[in-house]
Assembly symmetry: C2
């Protein structure tokens, strides 16, 4: 946790990205690190946790991070929390809360409120438009060469 906070503090003092840091630990060793890189890499998804998950997956050579723990300077936003689920990380340890992030100007608490609403009540408009032609899921289920995850 101290390393995650130090990464967050480094960004908070400079101009390399938002004040967030994250570390992935596997069997007592740091296997991934990340700090926020949204503004420096022009990547809206480059939150510290996402950067750390990608770093750990690359270093371990697998997309399934079972057996890993995520230490993060702040409670993960919904994007990062869902990424943790997809990566099958065992558990999460965080320092600051989503409300503290909100007080510093970040939308984490707002996003959690949005996710608790039904789709039609959210501020982001999502509409369905069924396409013509073959259903990708039917093709997937019938595909003997698929790599499940």
């Amino acid at each position: 946790m101290e390393l995650a906070l130090e990464l967050a503090r480094f960004n908070a003092r400079g101009s390399d990205g938002g004040p967030f840091g994250a570390v992935i630990v596997h069997e007592g060793k740091v296997v991934g690190e990340g700090s926020n890189r949204v503004t420096t890499t022009m990547d809206p998804t480059a939150h510290a946790e996402i950067v750390a998950l990608r770093d750990a997956a690359k270093n371990l050579g697998r997309f399934d991070l079972r057996g890993c723990v995520l230490y993060t300077s702040c409670e993960p936003c919904p994007m990062c929390l869902a990424a943790v689920y997809w990566a099958r990380v065992d558990r999460v340890v965080y320092a600051a809360t989503q409300d503290e992030a909100a007080a510093a100007g970040f939308d984490d608490a707002f996003l959690y409120e949005e996710f608790a609403k039904p789709m039609a009540s959210r501020s982001l408009v999502c509409t369905r438009e069924a396409g013509d032609g073959e259903d990708p899921f039917a093709l997937w289920l019938a595909n003997p060469n698929k790599v499940p995850y």
Copy 2:
């Protein structure tokens, strides 16, 4: 939408990743494309929408995708939906639903159920461990050189 579905079908027939495709449109032009790349790039965050958002941000040279629309072969999972909010995309158009994704073996519907629960009731254990030392958010708020986003 046809391009998003064609990207999804291409993956569904082969072994390059899950059966999902996404396209970002700005002022009537495609500015970003993505298909699922989780298993081929060993990146648990490489969902089609995330890949497309990164591609569009890179092509437009900005992390704020206001004025863009996301077309996706399937209703975005919570990770991708939150990424859409962070990227400030105007709206989302999707073909298949999260329940159809669940029927094809993907956890989207499960994740939405998890997000609707309070933290303590979720299957993923998240614990708080406040760190010692300076608060990164206090440093951020006091930093005159920060780049907000």
